[in-house]
Point group: D2
Chain length 394, copies 4
């Protein structure tokens, strides 16, 4: 086994990705929803689909759950989930509260000026912690959609205060081995300001909430031109990088498949993590997919994403960290850059396939998916249910 193969195999051996349960269901844009006949229509089907992705790839052993959609009975749903875990060979991953769907959240949830709404939202956070405990899930993953659409209509400053209280109350419920992941997003569904708009807000808010609160980086949630790998580097430096939501975007949506628009950026993000490890740094990072596939087949898109993440992670693993550090500190720019991007431009796909074969996995999971007939089967089985769900928002 040569050096490149060793590096790739070692990297892939410890690289795991969490699948989002909502990535298997029909979703859409604000203009409508294009229905896929094979989309999952309930939690059992989501577990089945996620289990199939894990079976094909071997590196997706957990599925993120969305409290409202996947655990409608709250903690009462836990037993059903337990059975599904057994049945499909995939465990529950992060627990995702829902603070955007109830009509009372029109003007915010944890940041709503109305104390009773804030209480409802905080209670939902705490219930999410309880569910996570019951399921043995470590991470509660908070995406806060709160914000405002118009200048002057809400108090940015008072809302900071309210959020501080809510997250402190949530943090107080965490078991000692649990974490609160705090996500940020510059806009949408709020269009003038989002209460947690950038990593600085998420980080300082997490710090105020308590030591087990860390930051979640969604690769699609940044202003155009932002250097995301630099943010990753700072969060690693601060010991506050809790995980990722993987996806991509060209302009301002964040639900495209990982690396589909800018694969070099994903490589550079992974590089920061490898570089941190190489210099003796420690980190504990949850890699999660957060995508919603409107046009691509949901199973295909998910398998493709897992494979893409592996390939880009493997490419980044090829960077000779010691040599790169030397060239960087000598300010040998062109040599450093060539070394760096030679790793990116090296075709690791044969090595990734070899790694898969060495684990008894299909060499090409997309091909294996096709050959399995799985999509055809679920399309037949679920078509009627999906057809009745309608596709229009009008």
């Amino acid at each position: 086994m040569n050096d490149a193969q060793q590096k790739v195999f070692a990297a892939l051996d410890h690289f795991r990705i969490e699948l989002p349960s909502w990535g298997f269901a029909n979703t859409g844009t604000r203009f409508g929803k294009f229905i896929q006949p094979g989309a999952a229509t309930n939690i059992a089907e989501k577990f089945a689909d996620a289990g199939m992705v894990n079976k094909l790839t071997g590196v997706a052993p957990t599925v993120a759950l969305h409290v409202l959609w996947d655990l409608p009975k709250g903690e009462g749903s836990v037993n059903e989930i337990r059975q599904l875990e057994q049945q499909h060979g995939i465990r529950s991953g992060s627990i995702n509260p829902n603070l955007f769907q109830d009509q009372v959240y029109k003007f915010g949830s944890l940041c709503n000026p109305d104390p009773s709404v804030r209480k409802q939202a905080t209670d939902h956070m705490i219930e999410s912690v309880q569910i996570a405990k019951a399921l043995g899930s470590r991470d509660i993953s908070l995406w806060l959609s709160d914000g405002a659409n118009y200048p002057g209509t809400q108090s940015i400053q008072r809302r900071i205060g309210w959020l501080t209280e809510a997250l402190a109350a949530t943090h107080a419920e965490l078991a000692t081995d649990q974490r609160l992941l705090v996500e940020y997003k510059p806009f949408e569904p709020a269009f003038y300001f989002t209460d947690l708009a950038d990593w600085g807000m998420a980080y300082t808010m997490a710090k105020q909430a308590g030591p087990q609160a860390v930051v979640l980086v969604d690769t699609g949630h940044h202003a155009l031109g932002t250097n995301i790998e630099q943010i990753v580097a700072w969060l690693l430096h601060l010991g506050a990088l809790g995980g990722f939501h993987f996806n991509d975007r060209k302009f301002a949506d964040d639900d495209l498949t990982l690396g589909s628009i800018d694969p070099y950026q994903v490589f550079r993000i992974f590089h920061e993590i490898h570089a941190h490890t190489a210099s003796g740094g420690r980190s504990d990072i949850a890699y999660m997919i957060d995508q919603s596939h409107n046009l691509k087949g949901k199973m295909e898109a998910m398998v493709q994403t897992v494979a893409t993440a592996q390939e880009l992670y493997a490419r980044a693993a090829l960077v000779d960290q010691a040599k790169l550090s030397e060239l960087q500190d000598a300010c040998a720019l062109v040599e450093a850059e060539e070394l760096f991007r030679n790793a990116f431009f090296t075709d690791v796909r044969p090595l990734v396939q070899a790694w898969r074969s060495s684990k008894g996995l299909p060499a090409d999971p997309l091909v294996a998916l096709k050959e399995s007939g799985y999509v055809d089967t679920i399309s037949r089985e679920r078509a009627a249910k999906n057809a009745s769900s309608g596709g229009s928002y009008a």
Copy 2:
């Protein structure tokens, strides 16, 4: 009547704004819909609401119609519309085809690789022209949502060809006094490319379609940093500015109320139009609102938008065009800028109110709306229907 009053009155005398029927109905973001009890649930209610806005403001005599939603029977709906026009003292305005909602449009409508889908879409365009003729509407307003989400998945070049054919076929159906307004949008719902992404594409496509095709500028549909007033100036120069869709945005959505984020930009856009007229240019511009109010009350937001448009149009009318030209051509930058923005910073609201009073209109239409009790009434009347429409997209 002093000079400022004369200018403002003259400007307002000829300034009319079209209301969008869809701005009165419940809509949402991709994350859900917050239901307003008073939202319009059918075309009769939309006409009632639009009629009320026109009654309060006196400058919104037409309502844009959306073929699929407002004219479900196609030309067969015309008689019903005629009656509503009479009843509410407001006429039909631009006719808006729908090329994004049918499941067959998943991969495009006029640009779909499948010829049968393109035919269906083209037929819908032609039907829209026929409806417009039947209603006596001049403008067919095309927003094309076609595009692709991922590199390599669609042929940009072949789609240009298909679109050229479809618009030529549509243009051939226009009566001599009709126009085809071609809108552009950089992204959403397509996220990698939109087939008509910028004004250059809309303009060259319109030119190929025929002489009655012109460009529609939606103020929210531009890359960040774009100088929209410059595009307006070029379209005026090219004789191809057909109209506007008014709204605003902070980052990447386009449904905020006009001028709510950047009122100075709206002023500058209006200035280009006044400057064009002052230098002897001719134009024929349809001013239309295209907003969907998720959080603000729909009636309030619409009245507010009309009033804002009037105020900013009036401020721009205060610019002394002759003096400004002189200072510009002398490159007296600070003097020119001070003259220019003094118009913006002049408080025209008393003059606008005086103009309204002179027309027998309420001086403050927002106050008049409140005093009318209209929103309370429709909220009571329509609450049950709206409640049953559900609010969640999950």
Copy 3:
């Protein structure tokens, strides 16, 4: 004195703005420099010009100094500055180190991989602190131009460590009443990453440096779409807003005059400060101009900027904070927004002029500047010196 007048007068009574010495000298873009004959060519002329702006406006009693350009002899220059202060009735303000001009800084200053360069840069920081002490200046204002142009060429993470050391060393030299202002900038002159790229980096770095380090917000230094007033709100909440560099930009430059592109944004920033005060918050904010006028006359642009800042600060002071809070917390969106922007659209210029007259100042400082003949005089006196400075960078 009515309520509006009282609010405006009270606001203007405590509002002071610092002028940048470099704003009076000839500068340019990377494509060249257009020479103004009246531009200041030395520190004496800069003090004269700044003194004139202060004489005309009465609210610009300090001038920011740039160590390398204004204090070429380091502390040895202090006596000369003292004399100029006396002569022109204007004091030294913030002290600005220069870490970008020396050829050794090609690959960075405080973040340079070479320890000897880092030492040189740190020594310059410490010397700047000493100069500030000697001049009685409170604030040392750090703009760090360090960064890299290409992926892989520099270690983001090691550079964070080096910067931490350098700022700690600088902070250790501060007198107890001094402050270190830490500025951030997303790009330029470094084009791939800038070591302090956003407020989160500046804030966490300041925290690590020590309690007297706070953040400096340059209004032009943000990714497009960023909500700057929200950052201001967070920094106020965190007690870490040290000051502003005022300017504006349309796309990506930051040297346009304040409010020239988006005056409503400036109003919203000032509103956050007024709101913080109204709710009992305390802050200590240095308002500073950082502009470089390539095309506008330098004296005119500076006077115009001071007047613009006053007017927008006064408009923001008109917001009825108690009423606004009530409407915000009742989620009365349209009412809250109308109250908010009515303040913006109120013409405060007569009140600002009345305030000036009440202080014995010219009602319109731009007119007064013109009538003074000052620009003609300095243009005559300095023309020869400026002509020899050349204009081309080729």
Copy 4:
């Protein structure tokens, strides 16, 4: 020779890149210039350097000339250039007028309100055409830096008219085989609007100038989020794509080396060209580098850029156009995308090296440059001249 090799060899056989003379000289940012001792200080050294790049790569047979800097005697410089061409085995390429450096251009050149300045600028354009004729150069490449920094200070509309006249006058002087390439740029050095800001403006202006005027796409000159390959597709469709200026950028500068930030985007641009050819389209595209290397060694950066362009052009050549069209038109999204990006992720470097060897060229031109000792030699020879040029703009 297998299929991939044939495709790569065929692609590289006809791919040529023009070097910019100004890419070998010292340049900087507005904050200063870091001096490279080996930078070219005159036209002879620029030809020497360009000749060396061509010798190493074999695909850079022409050098773009900048009238003011490289042909100070105008047509009188032609003989000297002729000799340099002979001496260094490299020909003159596009001729680039300079309309930004003279002090009279402070408020514009071809768009200046002063007719005498417009005449001077137009005369310079016509002289550039004459020089091009004398040198046997086909393309005159216009980058227009004109614009304004502040709203209201210049008339956008009158300036369009003036520019139309100037380009018509220039076009009238073209020989029948010459072309006028019209470039666009959204901002810088003008910061509020640039007279030719986007491809729509460049295209419609070129059309008005005459049939030999076409558009030049500078890859760095677009608003963030713009889909550049789509613009390329439209220009190909319109028969108006004259050429490229190659470079890259992360945020808003355009002088980074090609593909250094987003190599996949460059691949996609090349794909549109290959797709156009594959479908029977014809084009005549000048590939030119326009970079200014502030930090990287100038020779290294130029060789690296040529090699990068070749590699990405070769990757794009691997796309199976027939198969891709089939998958696209079947809307087989994931299959189409996988086929597409498999070409991108294929490691073509061995094939590119084999092609070079087959032409008697060094397999790795960067290594060959290093081994040649050329940079050391010119650094010794030119160090003194460069040292005296100073580095600071203060």
